[in-house]
Symmetry: C2
């Protein structure tokens, strides 16, 4: 089996063309996919990812709980922003939560016809690696990036996941995977320091939103794999 | 001034949007831009880059010298393939040469409305750095990639050029530049070894075309900067 890494959604057509029998792992470390994992781990029944603000507003009008973010800030009409700390058990347990963010939910939309689409974050990285290995399928890590530009944090996660999969017998599919592995090799001793160079850290700090950075970089705080159910168009926890 | 790196042509719209007053450096290390530099250095009067095989065939029918390559192989109808060693002084001196390749000439077409488009390779890297510094403009390195996928060799060149520009006072524009700088830092002591991991080396070796790899990775063998002249739609040597 092979593990490949697609650095931004705009490149996905060039990475998905070799066949459909793959697992796509969508990742947006700061903060959408980390937040989705937190919400489901705190008991949300499902997450309904939508790409546009308009769709989110329609759901809000129907009485749904809505998380909505653009350019790191919470949208005024929404119940939550894009911090994993917003989605506490008392607020989300048993609820369906609508969610739209600058990059993460667009990436899900780009890949929602994949045979298997799951959500990756550092918080569930071992659970994701277990899932992929158990399925015995090729893996594409789809980085959400930033407005279709390359970003470090999502690619770094790609390297960290590729490392785990290669240790279990996967092979690197591409130059992109090789570089992500090198990034992880350089970063792993002090991920927080490595991440300090990124554009997104500056964006979060400029908006006083750096409180969740440490959490977003911490491995294995939840033991779930969110999977996209195509029939109901929602993310739910995978049950083996 | 800032230096940014766009990893594949498909991402160029997301890197060129912040203003047009920039220098775009198109790079396709294996082998299109290395070959263009060699042809012009050997006395070719101009290179006429065309994106399609059909255009190249039309020029051939009109009596032009034509270099044409797809998937590393020379096209049957063409005078030359994509090796820098094909374009010797006795064959190209004083001639206009039509040129089409799998990735490099597509990248030129993608960016041909840039204010200044130049051609970069390891063979002219210092000349390119001098040119950019002299113009005092922001720089985007546009990597040709492989069928719009990320490749190591072009991104590595981006890191090598960024290193030279930053040493002269430029700043890194992005996460992409940061990662390319790390790649160069890891590779520079033994570039040939670093490049051995790439997809393209395997492709060249499978077609017995590895003879020019060493040349394509050697710095500063020519002292010219090919620049795209929009009026005549040709690449010519820049005269300061």
């Amino acid at each position: 089996m092979k593990v490949d890494i697609c650095f931004t959604p705009a490149l996905y057509p060039y990475y998905s063309q070799d066949g459909e029998n793959k697992i796509v792992v969508v990742v947006d470390i700061f903060r959408a996919t980390t937040t989705m994992c937190a919400a489901l781990n705190n008991g949300a029944r499902s997450i309904i990812p939508v790409a546009s603000i308009e769709e989110a507003q329609d759901y809000k009008a129907k009485g749904f709980l809505v998380g909505a973010e653009r350019n790191v800030k919470r949208c005024d009409f929404a119940d939550f922003g894009n911090s994993p700390f917003d989605y506490t058990e008392d607020k989300v347990s048993g609820k369906d939560v609508v969610f739209t963010t600058t990059n993460g939910t667009q990436a899900i939309e780009m890949a929602n016809d994949a045979e298997i689409l799951i959500i990756g974050a550092f918080s569930n990285i071992d659970a994701v690696a277990d899932f992929c290995f158990e399925k015995q399928k090729d893996v594409i890590v789809l980085c959400a990036g930033w407005n279709n530009r390359f970003n470090i944090e999502d690619s770094l996660y790609g390297g960290a996941l590729a490392r785990r999969l290669i240790d279990r017998g996967y092979t690197s599919a591409s130059d992109a995977t090789q570089v992500a592995l090198s990034m992880w090799n350089e970063a792993k001793a002090d991920v927080r320091k490595y991440i300090n160079r990124t554009e997104h850290i500056k964006r979060l700090e400029a908006n006083n939103l750096q409180d969740s950075v440490e959490y977003c970089l911490t491995e294995d705080t939840v033991n779930i794999v969110p999977v996209y159910n195509k029939q109901i168009k929602r993310l739910v926890i995978w049950n083996s």
